[in-house]
């Protein structure tokens, strides 16, 4: 056992314990650690953003190197602050419109192709998809299960017709698949949360106390 002598390790360990104290009940130590974290994280982000992004990519070219074209993004950026002045607050729509326009233009074709077309291709029963499972003849079975699961889950979300008859059966099967999905997500969530606990315990017992 060799306890760390580093002040940073001690600060980190004590803050970890302060956060863990919330498991017993809310208390000032926990609130201090929480506020400190938010403050430090935001301070770090703002400072880094200013020095590493704004200065080298906008302020320096515009004000030091005299590249006048940079006045355009500068003014567009400044317009974001007009929302604090009620009389001209409508101007904020200009940078918001530009940002939304850019992102929508870039994302609609890309996401349609990657998240819809490709996923539909992956669901269709083809020999390529059977082999993709790398499970021999079981690939066909898994592909059929996925195919049925997707169709039935989609039918559950079809609300324009009462869930009776064929639609009632498929939507009920869909619920089973959705529940299996929720179960998998919950199991993974448990795994993630226990992993976080393990990570902190590894730090406290290893880096701080030197027991492991």
């Amino acid at each position: 056992m060799s306890i760390s002598l580093s002040p940073w390790i001690w600060i980190s360990a004590l803050l970890s314990l302060a956060v863990f104290s919330f498991l017993y009940k809310d208390n000032p130590f926990y609130r201090f650690a929480e506020h400190l974290f938010i403050g430090v994280a935001n301070g770090y982000a703002v400072t880094f953003y200013y020095h590493n992004i704004l200065v080298p990519t906008l302020f320096d070219p515009l004000f030091r190197q005299g590249k006048l074209l940079y006045i355009i993004p500068f003014i567009i950026g400044i317009l974001y602050f007009t929302r604090f002045i009620p009389k001209i607050s409508w101007l904020v729509r200009i940078p918001i419109g530009i940002t939304i326009g850019y992102y929508v233009g870039a994302s609609i074709p890309a996401t349609t192709q990657a998240f819809i077309i490709k996923q539909i291709q992956g669901t269709v029963l083809t020999s390529t998809n059977f082999q993709a499972w790398n499970a021999g003849s079981w690939g066909i079975v898994w592909s059929v299960i996925v195919f049925i699961g997707v169709l039935c889950s989609l039918s559950y979300f079809y609300f324009s017709k009462e869930h009776k008859g064929v639609l009632g059966v498929t939507s009920r099967i869909g619920i089973v698949f959705i529940m299996i999905g929720f179960g998998a997500a919950f199991g993974y969530t448990v795994m993630a949360r226990i992993s976080l606990l393990i990570g902190r315990l590894q730090f406290l017992l290893g880096d701080w106390l030197g027991i492991i």
């Binding site: 498991l23 017993y24 994280a41 770090y44 982000a45 880094f48 953003y49 590493n52 992004i53 080298p56 992102y103 870039a106 994302s107 890309a110 996401t111 192709q113 990657a114 998240f115 490709k118 996923q119 291709q121 992956g122 993709a132 499972w133 790398n134 996925v146 999905g181 998998a184 997500a185 993974y188 969530t189 448990v190 795994m191 993630a192 949360r193 226990i194 992993s195 976080l196 606990l197 393990i198 990570g199 902190r200 315990l201 590894q202 017992l205 027991i211 492991i212």
Partner: protein, 289 residues
């Protein structure tokens, strides 16, 4: 019956305490657990292993402190693999918080190799073997921009060097020179890499994700959009296992060491769920009577 009623009203602090003890004991006793490597991780390992000499591996370090237990071991294992095979690496971040953690991983793994290196050729040299590009917001800009020119998107690296002066960047121009991009992320960023970098420029993308988001990513592995996939601490342990057994690199394996605790933690959770359900159904039966 009082006992059954108590089962449904166990104080959450008792559950926390039991969980903490169960997780703690295997960590201290260091009970080993065999790691069984699953196909998604093995595929990722093979993809990294077969990167040609004239191509690079991009690692997007996307984990913040709260994701470290799951994603940091993946980053270390990937870097050890790449450096051992002398695969050139470009590291980058799409957010601010991971920057320090990425630098830590790069520095520590470089130090591991350089501490045993005999010659300059054996060493891992910054600028020659790897480059840390740093951070360039917003994420869409580097994702699309690197398809045209990496040095245009990142005129300077994390340390303030001009990227076009670095030896590695002389022949790495854009995605055409990238064999694989691995995104280590706790969010949806790996999907964005698929949508923008792979969909438009054809880059092979793989991911290391936290367990909580794993269920959202398997469909991309099934369709082949992800070359490989590591999920949570288990995925990290699998990659560590491959790096140790196939490359004979015996270093600290934080994820593998944690697996027994993870297993027992799960068993406790399952036990509490069963106990809670027994209590619920017994009480419901009593009420019906």
């Amino acid at each position: 019956m009082k006992f059954i009623e108590r089962l449904t009203t166990i104080d959450r602090r008792i559950i926390y305490l039991v969980l903490a003890i169960v997780v703690l004991i295997p960590l201290i006793s260091r009970s080993p657990e065999r790691v069984r490597v699953m196909p998604p991780v093995e595929k990722l390992y093979n993809a990294v292993d077969t990167i040609p000499k004239d191509k690079v591996l991009i690692i997007d370090f996307g984990y913040a402190p709260q994701d470290m237990p799951e994603l940091e071991p993946m980053g270390f294992a990937l870097l050890r693999h790449a450096f051992e095979k002398r695969i050139k690496v470009l590291a980058l971040c799409l957010y601010v918080q991971p920057l320090g953690l990425a630098q830590k991983a790069l520095t520590e793994v470089t130090e591991e190799f350089n501490s045993v290196a005999q010659t300059n050729a054996d060493s891992i040299i910054y600028g020659r073997d790897y480059v840390f590009l740093g951070w360039q917001p917003p994420p869409l800009i580097p994702m699309l921009g690197m398809g045209i020119s990496i040095t245009n998107v990142y005129p300077g690296d994390y340390y303030g060097n001009k990227t076009d002066t670095l030896p590695l960047m002389k022949y790495v121009k854009n995605y055409n020179d990238v064999a694989l991009l691995v995104s280590l992320s706790a969010g949806s960023i790996p999907r964005s890499w698929v949508a923008y970098a792979q969909n438009r420029f054809g880059v092979a993308v793989a991911a290391g994700v936290t367990a909580v988001s794993a269920a959202d990513f398997y469909q991309y592995y099934q369709t082949g959009q992800f070359t490989g996939l590591m999920t949570g601490m288990k995925g990290a342990a699998e990659y560590e296992e491959l790096v140790e057994t196939r490359l004979n690199i015996k270093k600290s394996r934080k994820a593998s060491e944690a697996l027994p605790s993870l297993t027992y933690g799960h068993l406790v959770m399952i036990a509490f769920i069963i106990i809670g359900n027994i209590g619920y159904f017994v009480q419901r039966k009593r009420r019906q009577k």
